[in-house]
Each structure stands twice: as structure tokens, then as C-alpha cells.
């Protein structure tokens, strides 16, 4: 089960409003390579992993990704806070305001709502871990793009933190893959 801790994993600083950036950050909030996708993917795949190491790792990284999802929501919330409806409309967020006001709704940068179609859980541990490693790389690349899109030092620091997390997660998934492959090597036959 999950327990919530009333604290962010990282202290998020946002120095000024930036509606364009809020829109771009939605990619990591409700888009295909978002923290939400990562979290749901890992927490879903963990049920059918064959080793304790991978069950533990997917649970723990999946939980950490939820904390990252909260960090992205915090950035968006702070970037939009106190902005007038007129400014929202001028920044192209009129449609978002019409349906959601300033709510941080899980959709991508174009307003497409999040869907489980963004994730896969094949039940094959090798396949699933390759998907997880690819997901971490996609997230890292997206963070690199986002870092280039802003010059707010608070946002840049937070994005750099999140980007480094993806590098570390990739390493862990790679180690889990090695572990699974060793397990497969030790079995001459497998049962379906």
C-alpha cells in the first residue's frame, strides 16, 4: 500500500510566472514519456516479475516517480499561480482554462489526456525491462529539451535533478536486466 509523505523530494523554486513553460512541462506531467507514465508502468509491471530484486526495484522506482509527478505538478502550479485569465488566454491556455481553470489536469502539452496506451506490461520480464530502460532515456532527453527551454534558475535546477534521476534509474534497470538474464540462463526449460 502507499503512505504519503507531506514533503517534496526536492525543494522546487520558481522565480517568476512563465505560461509557455507551464505548457511545455505538461509533457512530463501527462504526456507519453511523463513521470505519470513511468510510475504507472513500473507499478503495473512489478506484479509479474519473477525475482525479488525486480519486484522491489520496480515498486521503489515506481513510487519515486510518483514523487517526481508531484514535483512537476508543483512547478506547473507555481508557474501559473496569480496569473489573470486574460494572460492565460493570450498564452494559448484558454482552452485549458475553459475546462480546468488552473487545475493541473493530467494531459500532455497539446491537451491530449493521459492514457494507459502510453504504457505496456507484456508479462515478459526481459521485454518489460527494455521498455523501462527506453522510458528512462526518453524522459532524460525530454528533460534536456526542457532545460534548454527555460532560463529560470529554480526550474533549471529542478529539471537537472529530475534528469539525473533518469540516468540513475536506467543504471538500476540495467542491473535488474542482467539479473533476469542470469536467471534465464540457469533455467534450461521454462513453463508457460
Amino acid at each position: 500500500m502507499w503512505i504519503y509523505e507531506k514533503k517534496l523530494e526536492y525543494p522546487v523554486r520558481v522565480y517568476k510566472n512563465d505560461l509557455g513553460m507551464a505548457k511545455f512541462l505538461m509533457a512530463q506531467y501527462g504526456g507519453p514519456d511523463s513521470e505519470l507514465s513511468a510510475s504507472v508502468r513500473y507499478l503495473t509491471q512489478r506484479y509479474t516479475m519473477p525475482t525479488d530484486k525486480t519486484k522491489g526495484l520496480l515498486t521503489d522506482i515506481g513510487t519515486e516517480e510518483m514523487a517526481h509527478w508531484e514535483i512537476i505538478a508543483t512547478m506547473i502550479y507555481k508557474l501559473v499561480k496569480g496569473v489573470s485569465v486574460k494572460q492565460l488566454r493570450e498564452a494559448g491556455l484558454g482552452a485549458h482554462f475553459a475546462q480546468h481553470d488552473r487545475a493541473v489536469y493530467p494531459a500532455d502539452a497539446a491537451g491530449v489526456p493521459w492514457t494507459a496506451a502510453y504504457i505496456q506490461a507484456t508479462g515478459d520480464p526481459i521485454t518489460d525491462l527494455h521498455e523501462d530502460m527506453a522510458a528512462e532515456q526518453k524522459a532524460r532527453t525530454t528533460y534536456e529539451h526542457l532545460i534548454q527551454l527555460t532560463d529560470d534558475p529554480g526550474i533549471k535546477d529542478t529539471l537537472r535533478f529530475l534528469r539525473e534521476r533518469e540516468v540513475v534509474h536506467f543504471q538500476r534497470f540495467g542491473e535488474a536486466l542482467n539479473d533476469i538474464q542470469e536467471l534465464m540462463d540457469s533455467k534450461k526449460l521454462y513453463s508457460t
Binding site: 509523505e5 507531506k6 517534496l8 525543494p11 523554486r13 540513475v168
Partner: protein
């Protein structure tokens, strides 16, 4: 708010340390050096959390920390509202 923020930052740093060691231990469960460092950071983390919670209220609910009346869990600021420095 300064004192509160610096205590919170210390907890964030120590807990992040524990998270990193946790992930490392998930794939290296027999690593004694990592486990030793995990215990040492955990001790510091629990002390820091206890000090913070005594003044500012609980960080975790569902029975994880002692509370008082009025129910402090719901008190702001909530994490996304805090102005970090």
C-alpha cells in the same frame, strides 16, 4: 520560515540519501558497505524528522507519527505551496 525551511532541507537531503541507497541495495542486496551507510543515514534521518515534527506537525499519517488536537495533519502549507529558498 527560514528555520523551518532549513530543517526541511536537511530532511530532504538525508531522505534522498536513503532513497538512493535503497535503490542500490535493491540490485545489490548483499553489499555490506551500502547497508552500513543506510543504517547510519537512517539514524540521522529519524532524529531530524522527530525534531521537525515536534514543532511543525506530522510528515506522515496513517499512524506513523504522534499528533495532537486540533488535528495537525491537514494544516498548511502543503508541499506545493511552500516557497523554498
Amino acid at each position: 520560515m527560514d528555520e523551518r525551511l532549513s530543517m526541511l532541507k536537511e530532511i530532504q537531503s538525508l531522505e534522498f540519501f536513503a532513497i538512493e541507497l535503497n535503490l542500490f541495495l535493491d540490485t545489490h542486496p548483499g553489499d555490506r558497505a551500502a547497508l552500513r551507510d543506510f543504517y547510519s543515514v537512517r539514524d540521522k534521518l529519524l532524529v531530524a524528522k522527530k525534531r521537525y515534527e515536534e514543532i511543525y506537525g506530522p510528515l506522515m499519517v496513517f499512524g506513523h507519527t504522534p499528533v495532537k488536537c486540533p488535528w495537525p495533519w491537514i494544516e498548511g502549507p502543503w508541499p506545493w505551496e511552500i516557497e523554498y529558498e
